[in-house]
Symmetry: C2
Subunit: 160 residues, 2 copies
Amino acid sequence: MAPTPLPVPAEAQAEAQAPEVDRDLVVRLRLAIARLGRRLRQQTGEEITYSQLSALGSIEKRGPLTLGALAAIEQVRPPSITRIVANLEEAGLVARQADPGDRRIVRVEATPAGRELLRRGRIRKDAYLAARLAALTPAETELLRQAASVLERLLEVDLG
Amino acid sequence: MAPTPLPVPAEAQAEAQAPEVDRDLVVRLRLAIARLGRRLRQQTGEEITYSQLSALGSIEKRGPLTLGALAAIEQVRPPSITRIVANLEEAGLVARQADPGDRRIVRVEATPAGRELLRRGRIRKDAYLAARLAALTPAETELLRQAASVLERLLEVDLG
DNA sequence: CGTTGATAGTTAGCAATGCTAATTACCCTT
DNA sequence: AAGGGTAATTAGCATTGCTAACTATCAACG
């Protein structure tokens, strides 16, 4: 299919340097991601909300994290993270550590219970995706692997 | 605690993963999609929430819809749709029609203002993604194009 | 030293989502 | 006319996410 240039509105042109963008790709990606994301979100277990699960996952993966760092990762404002972490702590899934050098800073870490819940939750979510990935050819799987890298980079692009 | 999630499809609760499935890929894809999806959701613009936008989109696309049908499409319970539509109506973006034959039924339709907002909203979302895609190399763009096809197929895999 | 300004996190309060349970209004069949 | 089922709504709850304002702490500079 022929890539059609996207008429980029002024506000976006201020951000984006390249005026030529593949409109079709943009639309297809947006729809695919929005829908898949929605399905994954619905795939949360019963014991914890999606936001909590996501935060817990980041905490486990990236070690002891300050709340500010966690908020940045989760793309949420500090007050939201404060509350989410409070709920996680109340459920015994994360623990807070005081920073010895700077008493303003709070670090959070996953507890064994948190890790265990995460493991179970992942199995469920992964099973959902995995069941679908299983229908793909090896070449397609490899393609998605590379695409995942690109998507990860995309997420790190900070346009301000 | 958390709102009770929708019923989980049986096959997702079933056994963990087939050993052949690449676990790392599954995890990375899930995270990338979930986060990118969240960002797109945040990119709604100020005038309307994501749920409202999604509902409005379905209403425009699938013609006059009963609230029950809309709830099914949006995968939410009837009370949620009632409220979302009420907000959309208050904003003048949709209009209700009484069903002449069955007075229990309410149908909703997008107003011109609703259609217009939808058009603008799409452009803004596309611009968000487009700005990021612009930072990619041609090879990466091509990769994503192929990945989009795979993702689309993934979504069509109907396991339940 | 001690103000002064920045930084980290919290609290308070708002609007919205999503749910369940219960209710209202209505249709259809008997 | 009575019953049971269907469509939508209301009421009430927990959660999310935000902004604005506040506390506590650190660091720097005169």
